[in-house]
């Protein structure tokens, strides 16, 4: 469904991605784990179109989308819940969600909104409140729900567990694993390698701008190098 090949990207003259190859098949949950500064967020931004690509190619459902502007990738089915949540703090919870469906001006938006409220009941309670006043966990739920409002076939999630209490982390991971039954393919970027690999089908390990390992998620969890470097076991 999503194929990244030879992808490079730079900030100014400094290259931060040195030829990334990665593939996500339809219906999978794929995770990219790695330490802070490995280039995971940059990789995700290249795929969503908010970070310029220096070289290589991104294909989605067979089409080359490398040069497509970010706002036109939503209509193709790629939406992102960005690092740091990036919700619209000056708008209400419901307005945030409706903007998530900005490219879909039809009656299904109301149904999707109802779906989002069922998935995250706390958002229904707070639907008319300013989103800037939500707690960190609630903002994360809103960011994911907003990305789902765009009707993704491929959802990009950037560090959804960052800064959350353990019980909320579990809740967020539970929600992600239910997306499979909704035909949403997920590419999940995480520092919390253990939590991410537990719900993923496959995983990639990223270090300083390169993919250093990849494989089935359960194999990666069992791999002694991974256990030592990322799982702290």
């Amino acid at each position: 469904m999503l194929e990244v090949s030879g992808l490079t990207s730079r900030y100014g003259r400094i290259e931060v991605l040195h030829g990334i190859d990665l593939a996500v098949r339809s219906g999978e949950i794929v995770t990219v784990v790695g330490a802070n500064g490995a280039g995971k967020t940059t990789l995700l931004r290249c795929i969503s179109g908010t970070q310029p690509v220096a070289g290589g190619e991104i294909r989605f459902r067979g089409d080359d989308i490398t040069a497509l502007p970010a706002y036109r990738r939503i209509g193709r089915g790629i939406t992102q819940s960005p690092e740091g949540r990036q919700i619209f703090t000056n708008l209400s919870v419901e307005e945030n969600l409706r903007l998530g469906a900005f490219v879909h001006g039809d009656a299904r938006v109301d149904r999707d909104l109802e779906d989002a409220f069922q998935m995250f009941p706390i958002l229904r309670e707070k639907r008319n409140l300013n989103a800037g006043g939500l707690s960190g966990g609630q903002q994360q739920m809103l960011a994911i729900a907003r990305a789902l409002m765009g009707r993704p076939s491929c959802l990009l999630l950037d560090e959804p567990s960052m800064g959350l209490a353990p019980i909320l982390v579990q809740q967020i991971f539970d929600v992600i694993s239910t997306l499979k039954s909704r035909d949403v393919t997920v590419l999940l970027i995480e520092q919390n390698a253990f939590g991410a690999l537990k719900i993923a089908d496959r995983g990639y390990v990223m270090e300083t701008g390169r993919i250093t390992m990849d494989g089935a998620a359960d194999e990666l969890i069992a791999d002694p190098r991974i256990r030592e470097a990322y799982l702290g076991i």
Partner: protein
């Protein structure tokens, strides 16, 4: 008593012009956090283009329509040629660019048009209405109606339409706006076109009362900015109330004290209000959790 009423009428008229300028600030500010100091030049262009198109033999209404459309195009050009290339620069740099654009537009206007004072006829004649011993010009009613109409339209735009929300979303978080599928460049283009058109409309409505020349923009931009700050930057309600309050303050000071003090009195009141309410009368109180 008729005296007070007369001051209120003239304050309301001037205030409605300030409100229209302030409303013009609102859109660009909401889309980009930029205070566009070329807003006053849009008012000047609206008046001047109408004057010259009318003098060339076009009917007044058509001339006004052309002026508004042409000013909107100039607003879009300002965005494309001066603001968009500087994308990513701090807001302060962008504001300074708009000051430069304002000087540039004034210079071009003095060359393309002239340095004379102009006016064109009022829309509904010059015979004043008498109300309670005071008089008000029919054109004043046009200005006030224009201010209220633009306010209602903008208020509906920002609270009821998804496009209006997209403008607000773009200023709040440009990255996230792109991620939900908003073409943020298009939002900026739209904002400059709307702001310029509103500015030009203010020029068209006010010129029969205030007259116009190539250099009226700077004073209007400052007064409109003060009005927007008083009401709360970014809020259409604040722009309307701030504009009208400022106009009435000036008229009362000019009437009861001296017209020499009118600017000073207005700015003193604004300073006092901002000391107590830094966000302005209707400004959004910032609540943000991280």
């Amino acid at each position: 008593m008729p005296e007070l009423l007369q001051f209120l009428f003239s304050g309301l008229t001037v205030g409605a012009v300030y409100a229209l300028v302030a409303l013009g600030f609102t859109i660009i500010y909401n889309a980009s956090d930029v205070v566009n100091f070329a807003q006053g030049e849009f008012v000047m262009l609206g008046g001047m283009i109408t004057v010259f198109a009318h003098a060339a033999g076009l009917p007044l209404l058509l001339a006004a329509g052309i002026a508004i459309a042409a000013t909107a195009v100039i607003g879009v050009a300002l965005n494309k040629l001066a603001i968009e290339p500087a994308r990513g620069a701090p807001v302060v740099s962008l504001i300074i660019i708009t000051i430069g654009a304002s000087i540039f537009l004034r210079g071009v206007a003095s060359l393309v048009f002239d340095k004379q004072i102009h006016r064109f006829p009022a829309f509904s004649g010059d015979a004043p209405f008498r109300i309670g011993g005071a008089t008000i010009l029919p054109q004043s009613l046009w200005v006030i109606a224009g201010g209220v109409a633009v306010f209602i339209a903008l208020w509906l735009f920002f609270t009821r339409t998804l496009t209006g929300k997209a403008v607000l979303a773009t200023s709040n978080n440009r990255l996230a706006a792109q991620l939900v599928g908003i073409n943020t460049n298009w939002v900026m283009t739209l904002s400059f076109a709307l702001s310029a058109a509103i500015g030009a409309l203010a020029g068209v409505l006010a010129t029969p009362i205030t007259n116009t020349s190539y250099d009226v923009g700077i004073a209007l931009a400052l007064k409109g900015f003060a009005a927007a700050m008083l009401g709360g930057m970014g809020n259409p309600k604040g722009a309307l109330v701030g504009g009208i309050l400022l106009g009435i303050l000036e008229a009362l000071t000019a009437g009861y004290l001296s017209s020499q003090y009118k600017d000073a009195a207005a700015f003193i009141v604004i300073l006092l209000v901002l000391f107590i309410m830094p966000q302005g009368l209707f400004g959004a109180r910032q609540t943000e959790r991280v």
